[in-house]
Assembly symmetry: C2
DNA sequence: TTCGTTGTACGATGAATGGCGTACAATAGC
DNA sequence: GCTATTGTACGCCATTCATCGTACAACGAA
């Protein structure tokens, strides 16, 4: 990708805010992303999700998720690898992520990881 | 209050949507309201919360909470009594409400029930 | 009946949001 | 070196959102 030499910044564990996290999760597209990341452990490129939006909108959603502290992004070559910040979330808001994920409707599973 | 003869409508249990619930909870003011309602069992008038916003903004937030299915509103005289829809939420999204409430910072408790 | 209380309705406003297209930067591969 | 891939940046747009002020409706109490 590009990164334009800007370092990828993430909030620290203690900076995580409940409102921000809930807001990040309140969008269906972002909920799909998180649900997919949660389903399989590991790192996934942005492009590996088949989302119902364009590339640029995707970038936007990943940015929101990152800034809210839900995901970690790491640059590798031209792609950006995404990981769920399970541990940090669990430490700050115990049980929140698993509970929300359990409530995600299966219809959101349409966002299958294609790669 | 007024009600203007409009009946108060609520979504049914099966109509509750995760995104809407999370969105409703993603605002600090609404989170305070819900936290306060959760702390004490029972019905509370809108005016019994000391919130950092004006009356009209309050009305707005209570409406959002009601339309998302988080609270139940019942008219009694000039006031409107609010209750948390614990059972419905628990049935539809098990564990969600308790988990979120547990994550609410104490600073939100500033919104004390005055009456 | 006349206030005072409680809360809604409506309209305005500024900020944020989600969406898109285009341009381009960085790297991988040929 | 050239090209394809991956993803960001930026600008634009329409919509939603949180907030407020004012007006007013409904009811209780004096």
């Amino acid at each position: 990708m590009s990164v334009t030499t800007e370092p990828i910044s993430h909030p620290t564990r203690s900076e995580l805010e409940l409102s921000a996290v809930l807001h990040a999760l309140s969008d269906p597209v972002r909920l799909m992303i998180v649900a997919e990341l949660a389903k399989n452990q590991g790192e996934y490129t942005c492009g590996s999700f088949s989302l119902p939006v364009t590339k640029s909108t995707c970038t936007h959603h990943f940015k929101v998720l990152r800034e809210a502290g839900l995901i970690q992004q790491r640059q590798q070559g031209t792609s950006r690898l995404n990981t769920l910040r399970r541990d940090d979330l669990e430490a700050r808001f115990p049980g929140l992520l698993p509970t929300v994920l359990q409530a995600v409707p299966d219809s959101a599973a349409v966002a299958a990881v294609t790669a």
